[in-house]
């Protein structure tokens, strides 16, 4: 399902605005976990790598695709893991929230 270029540019523009508005509201307290989380989300590039390695159009593409899958998957696994580890450490001094 190919979409036209202008549609893609619209999507890009809107996503940038959503990104700005959502991330502006993130407390500075959580900037480090935010960066490791966006890193893990960014590794969605793995979908491109999977297609590249799996379509097997040329040996060269399969090799590069496989290395790309390794790189992106390590970001997905490591990124989510460390973000969750960090967030688990943030505790409030008040016993429980109402």
């Amino acid at each position: 399902m190919s979409s036209n270029l202008v549609d893609l540019l619209f999507i890009f523009m809107l996503a940038c605005f959503i990104g700005f508005e959502v991330i502006r509201r993130v407390s500075p307290l959580l900037h480090t976990p935010l960066m490791s989380l966006t890193n893990a989300l960014d590794a969605i590039a793995v979908v491109g790598a999977i297609v590249m390695a799996g379509e097997h159009k040329s040996t060269f593409a399969t090799i590069l695709g496989t290395i790309a899958i390794v790189a992106a998957t390590s970001n997905i696994v490591g990124g989510f893991l460390i973000t969750d580890r960090m967030l688990k450490m943030f505790k409030s001094s008040r016993p429980a929230k109402p």
Binding site: F12, M35, I44, A45, M89
Partner: protein, 465 residues
């Protein structure tokens, strides 16, 4: 044929759900109470997207896909378990991995499509591999500097900026040529190579104190290159995730530059620490007042309000757990203890908060610079541990200082200041700190971890409660 179209529709719907989950994931990061839901939403979105992609009709061979996924998981797990002090270099490394993935896929895509690459595709493809290539090596350099396998001091040489501009210019020139003549396959590797070299040279002149800005900027580049990849592959999910990451990195770099009162161009092209030799010359030995752990404990126990100002030095000395003991002891005695966090404390945005949270200090005690600065005049004791330049009053009142104009924590307005420091050596940026010569400042000379430990011992074992 109908089945094929239905299959494509399913993937598009799955990508739509994944995009929604990604946006929700970032939205939930706004507060520590909901942040973990954000991680779960992100994980679910990722799982859906990967499974949806595996359904892709064009995939004929799963062998290498599975090999890649398994190997990547094997590398990812140890990277997810690093110590909190090592998080900045881990983050830089993961930017490098992300950029590597994008560059490799872009390169493979070019060789599959050449020589019939549409102009627009060739343009974004070039942007993808140039951004990806420079982010890959730039992030590796940043990780090396943070891990201290490479020298942290900025390395500068004459004509550095000219060389860098020429390199970037020639990479863009090649990209323009390739857009017009996509069949010029011999030029494509040259373009990638130039981007890769440019990444190395870009980070060489950047010092450790600028790392928070640089990491954020590389984060932004990694995101933008992924978005470019989305355009090449006609993948909307990739465009959205890349745009979110790109804007996140950009916002963080803006916050970091503001916190250091410097522009992007200044961070990238004006190595910090160049003009300090002039400032260092007029130093003379001025008297400072110092105190012992016993005296410091006495002053702290008599205080009502204490603000601790932690810096990267505290993390280097591994003193955060002792600081937590001090926090507990003082809190038990009814002293109000809070922590003042400068935006660039640590080696990446928010790093100091993570280190203190790891030591079990409640996050509602960690206060941003803007919020706490007004409270310093009512603060009895400001205890500075391992921070230097972010407390330097000359940033406020000495226009000749290299850090003049940088927002600082106004610790000099507290009734008493105590600074734990090994000696009188200047900080990372090599700038003398007039704070230390003030009459209401006490220097506590020693290792941060040992000294805080001694104060705690005086407070608990002193016998008089």
């Amino acid at each position: 044929m109908n089945e094929l179209i239905a299959n494509l529709h399913i993937i598009e719907v799955i990508y739509l759900i994944a995009s929604t989950l990604f946006i929700l994931s970032l939205k939930w990061m706004s507060s520590p109470t909901t942040a973990r839901h954000g991680v779960w939403a992100g994980e679910l979105g990722m799982l859906l997207a990967v499974c949806g992609t595996l359904l892709h009709h064009g995939i004929v061979d799963y062998k290498w896909v599975i090999v890649g996924l398994v190997l990547g998981t094997g590398i990812g797990i140890p990277l997810g378990l690093v110590q909190m002090t090592a998080v900045p270099q881990r983050t830089a490394l993961s930017h490098a991995f992300g950029a590597l993935c994008v560059t490799l896929v872009g390169t493979a895509e070019y060789y599959l499509q050449t020589p019939n690459v549409p102009r627009f595709t060739m343009g974004v493809l070039s942007a993808e591999v140039i951004l990806g290539g420079l982010t890959f090596t730039g992030s590796l350099m940043a990780a090396g500097k943070l891990q201290e396998v490479l020298p942290q001091r900025p390395l500068t040489y004459k004509g550095q900026n000219v060389v860098n501009f020429l390199l970037l210019g020639s990479a863009i020139g090649l990209a323009v040529y390739l857009v017009r003549h996509p069949g010029a396959t011999h030029l494509f590797p040259l373009m990638v190579a130039i981007a890769v070299i440019f990444g190395v040279l870009l980070i060489i002149p950047i010092g450790g104190a600028d790392m928070p800005t640089v990491i954020s900027l590389l984060n932004s580049y990694a995101g933008l290159s992924a978005a470019a990849m989305g355009f090449v592959l006609d993948n909307k999910l990739l465009i959205i995730a890349g745009a979110l990451d790109g804007s996140s990195g950009l916002i963080l770099s803006i916050i970091m530059s503001k916190a250091m009162n410097r522009s992007f161009t200044n961070v990238l092209f004006g190595a910090f620490g160049q003009d300090q030799t002039a400032a260092g010359g007029k130093q003379e030995a001025r008297p400072v007042r110092s105190a012992t752990a016993e005296e410091a404990a006495a002053i702290l126990s008599a205080a009502n309000k204490v603000v601790v100002v932690p810096g990267y030095g505290m993390a280097v000395a591994q003193a955060q757990h002792k600081v937590r003991e001090l926090y507990d002891t003082l809190t038990k005695r009814g002293v109000e203890v809070r922590f003042a966090i400068h935006p660039v404390a640590g080696r990446m945005p928010g790093h100091m908060n993570v280190l203190l949270a790891e030591a079990d200090i409640p996050y509602d005690r960690l206060i941003d610079m803007e919020e706490i600065n007004g409270d310093f005049p009512q603060t009895d004791v400001a205890l500075v541990i391992g921070a230097n330049d972010v407390t330097n009053p000359s940033a406020r009142n000495d226009p000749s200082s290299p850090i003049y104009g940088m927002p600082i924590l106004d610790v000099d307005k507290a009734h008493t200041i105590m600074v734990i420091k090994r000696g009188m050596s200047p900080g990372f940026a090599g700038i003398d700190n007039p704070l230390y010569y003030l009459d209401h400042n006490l220097m506590l000379f020693g290792d941060a971890k040992a000294f805080v430990g001694n104060i705690v011992r005086e407070l608990t074992g002193g016998g008089h409660s």
